[in-house]
């Protein structure tokens, strides 16, 4: 009886690993092909499939740049925008979340619930009204139109609130008050340094969200000089690169690989962050 149970467990385990390896291949193969093809010349790519890298990356890069696509500029733009977005999101979300968790005031519960509702509202669909508003005050084609809305990032506030609720040390706040620190001073000098792990998680998500953001930038940014990477990916589909497969793969790889590197370093924070943002409602 026991042996039969053990045997069937082994069989089940075997099939579970087969399934997991299958899913792993499905998950990885598109990314792997992308990276491999980015290093192969267009001729090699047309000749056939390979799962091993080649040596034409520099060549592909020169083709990519040589046809007028300012990839370094796009990379710098994306990086600047992502860093600015991260700073604004992390600071203001934690500020709001801290205010909601620490202080008692009328409407606190209402605002907390309202933030949950905001998470569930498709605000992106008001982009046309937003575009019109921005063009009236002269902020179209300006990164501010992509950064300022992050002052009220409901999802990030929700995460920050969960985080502060799980860590808050009321005694520390009281001690700082007795030492004569102002309320904002307590937040800046005592709580923010303590909240670094949460801020890091939040920051990674904000960075990735900004780095990948295509739709809003596509509508609001118009001059080529200010194009971000996803917008350059969009222009890469044009006729100029139609047959330059190697260059296209390399262009895509350049947008994707930095995120893979960030993930390789911070995956622990990211995975735990997702769980924290969802569980407990």
């Amino acid at each position: 009886m026991i042996n039969k149970y053990k045997f069937s467990t082994y069989v089940m385990r075997f099939f579970v690993y087969v399934l997991l390896f299958f899913l792993l291949i499905v998950t990885i193969i598109p990314i792997w092909l992308l990276i491999v093809n980015a290093t192969r010349s267009t001729t090699e790519i047309q000749q056939g499939l390979s799962i091993l890298p080649s040596s034409h990356m520099i060549e592909n890069y020169n083709i990519l740049i040589g046809r007028g696509l300012n990839l370094p500029r796009g990379f710098a733009n994306s990086l600047f925008l992502a860093i600015a977005s991260t700073v604004v999101t992390v600071y203001f979300s934690l500020l709001t979340a801290y205010g909601l968790v620490v202080y008692q005031f009328r409407g606190r519960k209402l605002i907390s619930n309202f933030i949950i509702v905001l998470v569930m509202i498709p605000l992106q669909l008001s982009i046309i009204g937003f575009y019109r508003f921005m063009s009236k005050i002269g902020l179209t084609d300006n990164y501010l139109s992509l950064i300022l809305p992050l002052l009220a990032n409901a999802g990030a506030v929700f995460f920050g609130k969960q985080y502060f609720e799980s860590m808050l040390i009321q005694d520390l706040i009281d001690a700082a008050r007795i030492d004569g620190a102002s309320e904002l001073g307590i937040f800046h000098l005592v709580m923010l340094p303590l909240a670094v792990p949460g801020a890091a998680t939040l920051g990674i998500f904000a960075f990735v969200a900004s780095w990948n953001n295509f739709f809003n930038a596509f509508i609001l940014i118009t001059s080529l000089q200010k194009y971000t990477l996803p917008m350059l990916v969009q222009t890469m589909r044009g006729d100029v690169y139609r047959t330059e497969y190697g260059a296209i793969y390399l262009g895509l790889a350049i947008t994707i690989v930095p995120i893979i590197i960030i993930y390789a370093i911070f995956s622990r924070y990211i995975v735990s962050g997702i769980a924290l943002g969802a569980v407990k409602e």
């Binding site: 598109p30 205010g99 909601l100 620490v102 005031f105 982009i127 295509f214 409602e281």
Partner: protein, 318 residues
């Protein structure tokens, strides 16, 4: 103490001020602005515009374009959501199983989650390249003898829709696993022990313990996925020509809105009415599901037992 309480009142608001101002200006006002514009015939080119009541909405329903876009969006979302939750649920059960003891769960999860972080626009462009006429998929299929000649995959409705569904699934099933597992591990183990003593089967335990207690999390996944799915843009836009080809089969709500906005005249009014319709549809569905399902119990056959389970979870969650 009283003075301290009095002093605390304005401070809370002080911390919330940036959020509230930011929300009013960049969140609420654009929504109202979009609503206002949807009743006008505003274009990008002209500064004068007229109030035309519901004409935009009427014209939306007059041709089949809008209905088709909404239908496409729902179809693509549902075809991705059902297998996404199904497979994620299955894997979560395997990962949390005390009997199987799967190794390196953290690594598996981390790898399955990876596609979620990649730029959707670049991912769609990648699949466009992979499934191109001279792309690797055609090469592989022909060389391996599965097909006699190369196919124009991206001109087939079935393949393009299938690809959008697959990409969405590929990008989101890993995240769903992480969320579901977080929910499953928060269920007190004593419940399963008690059920095992009573001789419950694995399926019974899943059906009677895991599923009911995961309800809030399932609602969370459902609602956030729905809201995201109704705004799907990057992937169908970048996979083909940006108009939802072939035959508009992957033209989603947002692509339609963008096409109205970017048309030669720039019909801002009409584009706004698309946004308003989808906004209302999505918000009503999302909030409706959230509020109607949130506090009710599943089924009403055995109230006593469920009551005790509920008490347990409340204790474990607090």
């Amino acid at each position: 103490m009283k003075i301290a309480m009095f002093k605390k009142i304005p401070t809370g608001y002080l911390f919330l001020t940036p959020f509230i101002i930011g929300f009013l200006i960049f969140g609420l006002y654009p929504v109202l602005n979009t609503l206002g514009l949807s009743f006008t015939n505003t274009t990008v080119m002209s500064s004068v515009h007229k109030f035309i009541w519901f004409d935009n909405f009427k014209s939306l329903f007059k041709d089949h374009v809008f209905i088709r876009a909404v239908g496409n969006t729902w179809l693509i979302w549902m075809l991705n959501f059902i297998p996404q939750v199904g497979i994620a649920m299955f894997l979560s059960v395997l990962f949390t199983s005390a009997r199987l003891k799967v190794r390196a769960i953290g690594t598996w999860r981390a790898l399955f989650f990876l596609p979620n972080l990649l730029m959707p626009a670049a991912v769609a462009a990648l699949f466009n390249a992979l499934f191109a006429y001279y792309g690797p998929v055609n090469q592989f299929m022909v060389r391996a003898g599965f097909m006699s000649e190369a196919t124009r995959f991206l001109e087939s409705i079935l393949v393009t829709r299938g690809l959008v569904v697959f990409i969405q699934w590929w990008m989101w099933f890993g995240q769903t696993i992480i969320i579901l597992m977080a929910g499953m591990t928060s269920i007190p183990i004593t419940l399963y022990e008690a059920a095992m003593v009573d001789g419950a089967s694995v399926w019974q335990m899943f059906r009677r313990i895991t599923l009911p207690l995961l309800k809030p999390i399932l609602i969370f996944i459902f609602v956030t996925s729905l809201v995201g799915g109704m705004q799907m843009f990057d992937i169908p836009f970048m996979l083909t020509d940006g108009r939802g080809s072939p035959l508009s089969s992957i033209q989603t709500n947002n692509i339609l809105m963008y096409m109205k906005f970017a048309s030669s005249k720039g019909h801002i009014g009409l584009a706004s009415s698309v946004g308003v319709m989808v906004f209302i549809m999505t918000t009503v569905c999302a909030l409706g599901i959230f509020y109607f399902l949130r506090d009710r119990d599943l089924g009403d056959k055995q109230p006593k037992r469920r009551l005790s389970i509920k008490k347990n979870t409340e204790r474990s969650q607090s």
